[in-house]
């Protein structure tokens, strides 16, 4: 390679490397703000502030969903395997809301174990399969969705390896 080009290549790569490091550090420093939600572990450990508007996320604990028969009130627990707390919501839940499913809730943390949600969003995982395949898997003795999700770690979104009770 001729020396002029070589020098240009070095300068360009140096600029790129410098910028990549700068962006990396900025993202690392700001990741608390870039992360969409607090995990149950952060809520339970006290990292998430009380009485502040924020988002929390986690997996809905199997068997924890309690609906009020007369109103739209619903309470359920979310977990990431390292912490669990209750979410209370009044309204219509998204279609994909299920036990064992990941959710993100927008609202206020009232206490360390209770979150008042104004909005509940369903996360869906990256597995796609037809209903017949799901049935066949269940018949063959494989756990349903919750077990599969826990094994794969759901793309690292939930650090805990929660498996349904």
């Amino acid at each position: 390679m001729n020396p002029v080009r070589k020098q240009r290549l070095i300068v360009v790569l140096a600029i790129l490397a410098g910028l990549a490091v700068a962006v990396g550090l900025a993202v690392y420093a700001l990741r608390q703000n870039i992360n969409l939600f607090y995990t149950p572990q952060q809520v339970v450990s006290g990292e998430a502030p009380i009485d502040t508007k924020m988002r929390v996320g986690g997996l809905v604990v199997d068997g924890s969903v309690r609906r009020d028969p007369d109103t739209l009130d619903v309470t359920f627990a979310v977990t990431d395997g390292k912490g669990t707390f209750d979410i209370h919501y009044q309204g219509i839940l998204p279609d994909l809301f299920r036990e064992g499913q990941g959710i993100v809730a927008n609202g206020t943390l009232v206490s360390r174990d209770r979150f008042e949600a104004e909005e509940v969003l369903a996360k869906h995982d990256e597995t796609y399969m037809p209903p017949e395949v799901q049935d066949a898997l269940e018949k063959a003795g494989h756990p349903g969705n919750a077990g599969k999700k826990a094994e794969s770690g759901s793309g690292g979104a939930y650090s805990g390896s929660y498996s349904g009770e």
């Binding site: 080009r5 240009r8 290549l9 360009v12 600029i15 790129l16 910028l19 990549a20 962006v23 993202v27 990741r31 870039i34 992360n35 969409l36 939600f37 995990t39 996320g57 998204p94 279609d95 994909l96 299920r98 993100v104 909005e119 509940v120 969003l121 369903a122 996360k123 869906h124 995982d125 990256e126 597995t127 796609y128 399969m129 037809p130 209903p131 017949e132 395949v133 799901q134 969705n145 794969s152 759901s154 793309g155 690292g156 979104a157």
Partner: protein
């Protein structure tokens, strides 16, 4: 192997050779890409099985994923073209950089719109400022920035130099788009298709997805070749071979 690559690089770096090469490739590339895309989309949208939880609404994956991956790959290609244009001052790399931008910008926009339409029935929201969506929006702005930069500077070589730098720096954002779902807490789920290891999508749903992805990528490539040909003719309009080409009734 290395020698062949080097020869290709030098040959395709020559506008005349590129023009002839693309004349030979395009009549095949364009129809193949349209057929693949048509087959993949029809198969995915009409015949692929429904999803166990999402029902039919998951089918937008057959547009969303090809468009997103095309936008990301197009940007990486622009970054590489930018590096070659900056360091080796190769004119064809400048042409490629310009040719890659418009279709890529369209794909990024398609990805954002289909993502929003998919988000409403599944997540329950059109838009959240999560890292994946925000970085994808930035990717669209980078594409638009490169198009704007190139039309703002009159001298094509000066314009290409400015755009090359933006293209290369923007590649950092592609890395963020790709890994945002792994490094950060996002509403968007992780990647389904994996280069290494098993993809977490049923085979009956995966094949139409792969076919429409390939079809869209080839369509993008065909579009880039067509744009690059026009740009080459425009830049080389005073060169002998272009004069000869336009004076003859049939192509080169």
């Amino acid at each position: 192997m290395w020698k062949t690559i080097k020869r290709w690089y030098h040959q395709l770096g020559s506008p005349v050779y590129f023009y002839r090469f693309s004349s030979a490739v395009l009549p095949w590339l364009l129809p193949i890409s349209v057929v693949l895309l048509g087959v993949g989309l029809a198969w995915g949208l009409a015949w692929a099985p429904v999803e166990r939880y999402q029902g039919d609404s998951y089918r937008i994956i057959y547009i969303h994923v090809p468009a997103s991956s095309g936008a990301l790959m197009g940007y990486i290609a622009m970054g590489v073209a930018g590096l070659v244009a900056l360091v080796w001052r190769m004119k064809m790399a400048e042409v490629m950089l310009k040719a890659l931008a418009p279709f890529g910008a369209v794909l990024a926009a398609v990805s954002l719109v289909t993502g929003a339409l998919w988000g409403k029935p599944t997540w329950g929201t059109y838009w959240q400022w999560d890292a994946r969506m925000t970085s994808m929006l930035i990717l669209l702005f980078l594409y638009l920035g490169i198009i704007a930069l190139q039309s703002a500077i009159r001298d094509p070589r000066q314009a290409a130099r400015a755009a090359s730098l933006l293209a290369m720096v923007g590649v950092i954002n592609v890395v963020i788009v790709k890994y945002s779902v792994e490094w950060l807490q996002t509403l968007h789920q992780g990647s389904t298709l994996k280069v290494v290891g098993e993809s977490s999508i049923d085979a009956a749903m995966k094949w139409p997805l792969l076919i429409s992805m390939l079809g869209l990528w080839l369509l993008y490539a065909a579009n880039v070749l067509m744009r690059a040909r026009t740009e080459v003719l425009n830049r080389e309009r005073r060169a002998g071979w272009v004069r000869k080409l336009v004076s003859r009734p049939r192509g080169i």
